[in-house]
């Protein structure tokens, strides 16, 4: 992942040792399930009963059942499961077999720069570059229903499927905001920051999208190599999903007692010696979040990005946010790996399982979005987001989800 987790853990440890700071407030959702374990990788082989996927950590074999659904630009069958394609697999909640398989799914979100007859050029923000999206005639009509302003300067958000010629639009991700990209009504400068934000959470990128290129202070400092997960996270992947944050902590402790093999990396010796950090909710080990209010002073932020639709507290890359999916009732902590400059331009709602208040609170990587129970083709879920700033500010707030 873009932001090394060891560094994020190190920051968290440093923060918590500072006087006046401590664990996040004891806010627990009334009913919250842990995140699902998502498999992301390249399809090696597929049969009616078995999927073989090459992932960053090795080869994964997943059982296919009759209930398994395949998405490839719409409802697809086993024919869509061709070797070499990028897949995201979400397992069933009972852990037996694959529930959903998304093949070559992607998403393009940003400001339209040029609109041709069947292509749209989109500026996806300073961290993600530009994309040319093909819009077939049969997709244009439903797209225009939710994106009436297909003009340069307006925002676009489409779910795409990968093709040899680049991303091909399949359906709108969310309704198009009525305002121009640079005409967002920001909250009052003196508006107080709520401890828990309520709005919509979406995803960005895709199964085959390259990792975003980092510029600025961190350019070439922490290259985008396959990140070696910290010991706790790797063990968490092997362990059955715990039920609550406390149980997660205890299960991780017991696993750590059995020994661990630290991988190479930055200050690894010190990392191996440290005691595990207690987390209120499980950490999303495969993915992260793009947060709209990343501090530009300490790198990774967007100095010219709008302040967002809701009053966000400022965070940095490596900070953590806790996301609660109100649709799937799953909660997990995600590391901020990118500035959500594009999300900051959206003042929209999600209408999945109720209407959320306005404001795009975060964008998750596809694996993190699916791990929280989100359907990638739907595009969003109604969410509560708690920026884990810790300290006396958040402590003692009696907020319940």
């Amino acid at each position: 992942m873009p932001f090394p987790r060891r560094r994020a853990d190190r920051r968290r440890r440093h923060r918590e040792t500072a006087p006046g700071h401590g664990a996040p407030p004891p806010v627990l959702p009334d009913r919250a399930a842990p995140p699902l374990r998502i498999v992301t990788g390249t399809l090696l082989d597929a049969s009616p009963h078995l999927l073989i996927v090459a992932t960053a950590s090795g080869e994964e074999r997943l059982t296919m059942t009759e209930a398994t659904t395949v998405w490839h630009g719409g409802r697809g069958g086993p024919a869509a499961l061709r070797p070499g394609r990028e897949v995201i697999v979400r397992p069933r909640t009972d852990g037996f077999g694959a529930d959903r398989v998304w093949v070559d799914i992607g998403r393009v979100t940003g400001t339209m720069l040029a609109c041709g007859r069947d292509t749209v050029e989109v500026d996806m923000g300073p961290h993600r570059g530009r994309a040319h999206v093909a819009v077939p005639p049969q997709v244009l009509e439903p797209l225009l229903v939710r994106h009436p302003r297909m003009e340069p300067g307006y925002l676009i958000d489409v779910i795409c499927v990968g093709s040899p010629d680049g991303p091909r639009a399949v359906r709108p991700g969310t309704p198009q905001p009525g305002h121009r990209a640079d005409d967002l009504a920001a909250p009052d400068p003196a508006a107080p920051v709520p401890p828990v934000l309520h709005g919509t959470v979406t995803w960005w990128g895709g199964a085959s999208a390259p990792p975003p290129r980092r510029r600025g202070l961190y350019e070439d400092t922490w290259p985008y190599t396959a990140d070696v997960l910290p010991p706790r996270a790797r063990l968490a992947q092997l362990a059955p999903p715990p039920v609550t944050g406390r149980e997660a902590h205890e299960s991780l402790l017991s696993l750590l007692d059995t020994g661990d093999v630290p991988g190479p990396g930055w200050d690894e010796r010190a990392e191996a010696e440290e005691s595990p950090t207690w987390r209120e909710f499980p950490l999303l080990t495969d993915g992260g979040a793009a947060y709209p209010a990343v501090d530009a002073e300490t790198g990774g932020g967007c100095a010219d990005a709008p302040s967002g639709c809701v009053p966000f507290p400022a965070l940095s890359l490596g900070s953590e946010i806790t996301v609660h999916n109100r649709c799937g009732l799953r909660t997990a902590t995600a590391i901020v790996v990118e500035c959500g400059c594009v999300a900051a331009r959206y003042c929209d709602r999600c209408v999945e399982c109720g209407v959320s208040p306005r404001g795009r609170l975060a964008e998750l990587t596809p694996a993190a979005f699916a791990a929280l129970g989100g359907d990638l083709e739907t595009g969003c879920f109604n969410a509560l987001v708690r920026p884990d700033v810790g300290g006396s500010l958040m402590r003692g707030s009696a907020v319940r989800w």
Binding site: P19, G178, V193, E274, E297, T298, P311, D388, V389, M394
Partner: protein, 278 residues
């Protein structure tokens, strides 16, 4: 009684016209948007020059109502208020996003029922004032109790029907109280953080242990910016984590030693200080 009522209307109309003129000349309007939620709305040409010209005309009419009892002036006033009622009603239907501009920039709120009712009542008052025998200045000179009572009641009714009053009070309040950006959202430059840190007692106490001029790491979390420096304590390489508040005033600086992933609370110098920013 009837005459007193008619005379009171002359005073009311003159007061309203002069107030509207003053507001149009002194409070600028915000430009109205061309569209609502992506849907274009009919354009209304409302330039500053037109607003000033309208304000001057209203001021002249208000002064004329005060100075002369000529029927033509009263007739013009009645026509003006009737036209204003029609315009406000149309704006309410066609421009649900824009204010009427009746009192310049104070009338930025969308046109509602109150504004239409107010304009209609003023039109009625202008029609009633057609038969008033005295000019406004003469009514003031007589200082009749009944006229004063009616005028006061009508002004109170006018104020109750005016959304501009809350805007005026709000502007006055905002001018007195500067908006205070919460520390979580405040854009605090890194130079300010370092200046606050270097001027703090926590830095003075730990400066001797710090071995590097540049911080190893710096990041922001809400009201705090964390800065990590390499340090050496009791012959061991450690790190010092400073937490610097990002508040506009009264910034707190906290510090702690961290060694091999653990806090070392023993042998810590006094680590908390509050820097008063004038």
């Amino acid at each position: 009684m009837v005459t007193a009522f008619m005379n009171a209307q002359v005073l009311l109309l003159a007061a309203v016209l002069l107030a509207a003129s003053l507001a149009k000349l002194t409070v600028r309007e915000a430009p109205a948007p061309d569209e609502v939620h992506g849907v274009p709305v009919p354009a209304v040409r409302r330039t500053r020059e037109a607003t000033v010209a309208l304000g001057l005309a209203e001021g002249a009419l208000g002064l004329a109502l005060l100075l002369t009892p000529h029927p033509s002036v009263r007739l013009v006033a009645a026509v003006v208020f009737a036209a204003a009622t029609w315009v406000v009603g149309e704006l309410r239907v066609r421009r649900p996003d824009a204010g009427c501009g009746c009192f310049g920039g104070l009338s930025g709120e969308r046109v509602g029922h109150r504004s239409v009712v107010r304009a209609a009542l003023l039109t009625g008052a202008a029609i009633a004032a057609l038969g008033a025998p005295l000019a406004g200045i003469d009514v003031l000179g007589q200082a009749r109790f009944l006229v004063g009572l009616m005028f006061t009641a009508e002004v109170a009714l006018f104020a109750a029907l005016s959304p501009e009053l809350s805007e005026l009070v709000g502007r006055h309040r905002r001018r007195r109280v500067r908006p205070w950006v919460p520390c979580e959202r405040r854009r605090a430059p890194l130079t300010e953080t370092l200046a606050t840190l270097h001027a703090s007692a926590a830095w003075a106490a730990l400066e001797g242990a710090v071995t590097g001029a540049a911080p190893l790491d710096a990041w922001r979390e809400g009201c705090w910016r964390f800065v990590v420096y390499p340090a050496r304590l009791d012959g061991t390489d450690t790190e010092v984590v400073f937490a610097v508040s990002t508040a506009e005033r009264d910034r707190t600086v906290r510090a702690v030693h961290v060694r091999a992933g653990r806090a070392a609370p023993a042998s810590l110098p006094p680590s908390t200080s509050v820097l008063r920013i004038p």
